[in-house]
Subunit: 366 residues, 2 copies
């Protein structure tokens, strides 16, 4: 990158999720991005440190929910406090991107921003940085760029992006015009897209010029754009939180994919393969990311004795506690002290159902 | 029973086991007979209370290991303290029976004693009491009586007793001469015995005249008889513990079955069916005794949420803790705070293997 360009490059990390998909480890007050699953860093810290060399900390923004801002700042103290943007209430990724975009434009009208996730695993960080650089190049040419992930199975839990014409090669990575966004498909549709070979998973990571995305907001989501216009002038003044809290509750909850990307023009995708990307969307996804022992078991914490135990995951948050497994296969055992989850690997997605049930019954453990 | 007979009737409960078959709930210091599995009474308490109406408490003896005597007395305070006979070290059931026999003979030379277990489940207590009465009648006639259990499957974990000629009917229960004792068989042998229809499981419960069994000891186990002869005169004197502790370490460890019953003459069996007897010998045995819910699950303690959970047992020693099971079948989950066991029902016997492994490694949790 030329320094004249890169000094306008910003990153915005979405860290507002209250995900319950790794429940009972993830909780309302300890969402997935605050967990340390792969090393002693939280997923959020890894997401920040992955950007080293691409953005100085003062050009990294974090959008999160109010309650979590202080904790996230403690985890990444190199990022200035004013770069943590607190959502008063969750209103979907469209609102979040819009808020960051106006905050960044207010500071740098020529800004180009990356929208990044805080709770995914990326195995090949070098490739990730290359991909981001290519995406910035493409965004500078006026595209809304989405980072695509090469699909490895007919996932029904992700959105898909269909490639159109080849736009060119950016730092050795081919970029394509986006033909179509497809929200979470059913299994048949997923199989067909995988077979067609011209679809990527939608990673939820994007790069675009701030003026460009805000023009799209004005065009496609005029109500949100109007709300943001009320907030923008207060930015950097003591009135900012007042404005946010006045405007935010009235916003419609919408995703950036549905609200903007599906109908935007000039949308491009750079498909990434070999990124080692994983959304860590449920306990079974850890088997794709973490190396198992000789029996395919993943043992995290605690003391474990296994007889005839295969392809199972054991997570134990307490020390000085013994877990014994005998004659089990494809089992997930997660013990957080107050909750014990014992779940067949193939049904790990149903953890959400339990969380919803507990919520409805007004129970604790959430 | 004529009161003239019954005043010579005694019961001896063997409560010395340090069983680990229900580990991690049963421990060295909390053997199976001290657990409350079926109601708020311990198995030992149930074993004592089952005798109500048959023996006054002062004619109930309990043989146990030294460390557990105080706790057992606390659980059955109606039994006089001097009736708790402490084994200095475990030396098998032959020594235990011999000790109780000399203690009882010292008090009542005409005594007839029942040898009973402390850690089994008996569903039909009325029938059990009838069976005991029949066995006392038969013992009065000079038989060593064993209580047989009608086998319901080809168990390899129990000894068997083969019936010979019918000796008569005692209070409507037929009694047979014992043709043969067979120690724990292999699976083929077990199937053959079940098919033959003339075998009972050896319940480990016996009734005999004290003078009769002690004569057998003198004949078949002269060393043990000699050792007991050293202890007997000290009984009821302050020297009793000294004598016990001097003599006991030199005893050979032997079972009453192998040491006496297999080669005794005048051995009879009263086969019991419908007793609802269960040795509670491993976690899976609880499924035979405890009623499951509509999915065949047995939930003991804790708060449980199950999705797609069948024929599983969940035991939780702590309150205020949630167990969630999803997509599991035939699973045993036992949480005792310091240990969590997750085990396929069919492999519940292997808990012993884990205990042995921990023992060898000098670990705690035993």
């Amino acid at each position: 990158m030329k320094s004249s360009d890169t000094e306008h490059y910003y990153a915005m990390i979405m860290a507002g999720g209250g995900g319950t998909r790794l429940w009972p480890l993830s909780r309302q007050t300890r969402p997935k991005q605050m967990l340390s699953l792969f090393d002693d860093r939280t997923l959020f810290q890894t997401s920040v440190q992955r950007l080293t060399g691409l953005f100085p900390p003062e050009r990294i923004y974090v959008v999160t929910v109010k309650d979590q801002a202080a904790e996230l700042h403690a985890q990444a103290p190199e990022i200035p406090a004013e770069n943590f943007l607190p959502e008063p209430q969750p209103r979907g990724t469209a609102s979040v991107v819009g808020l960051a975009a106006v905050a960044i434009r207010q500071r740098d009208p020529q800004a180009v921003m990356a929208v990044l996730t805080s709770d995914h695993f990326i195995g090949n960080e070098e490739l990730f940085r290359s991909l981001l650089k290519s995406a910035f190049d493409l965004a500078m040419e006026g595209y809304l760029v989405t980072l695509g992930i090469e699909p490895t199975f007919p996932a029904t839990g992700f959105g898909y992006v269909q490639r159109g014409e080849l736009l060119g090669t950016y730092r050795q990575l081919p970029a394509y015009r986006v033909k179509r966004f497809k929200e979470k498909p059913n299994e048949d549709q997923a199989r067909a897209m995988l077979a067609a070979g011209d679809h990527s998973w939608n990673s939820g990571m994007f790069v675009w010029r701030v003026d460009h995305i805000l023009a799209e907001f004005k065009h496609q989501m005029p109500e949100l754009a109007a709300a943001l216009a009320q907030i923008e002038p207060t930015w950097g003044t003591p009135l900012r939180m007042d404005a946010l809290e006045r405007v935010w509750p009235g916003l419609k909850t919408e995703t950036i994919d549905y609200g903007i990307m599906e109908n935007a023009s000039q949308v491009a995708v750079i498909p990434a393969s070999g990124l080692g990307w994983n959304d860590v969307g449920s306990w079974d996804s850890l088997f794709e990311v973490l190396p198992g022992d000789e029996n395919g078991n993943i043992i995290m914490g605690g003391e474990h004795v296994g007889l005839d135990t295969q392809k199972s995951l054991v997570y134990m948050s307490q020390e000085h506690r013994l877990i014994v497994t005998i004659g089990v296969e494809d089992l997930v055992v997660v013990d957080t002290g107050d909750v014990l989850l014992v779940c067949h690997k193939d049904q790990a997605q149903r953890v959400r159902q339990v969380v919803n049930q507990l919520k409805q019954q007004g129970k604790n453990y959430l």
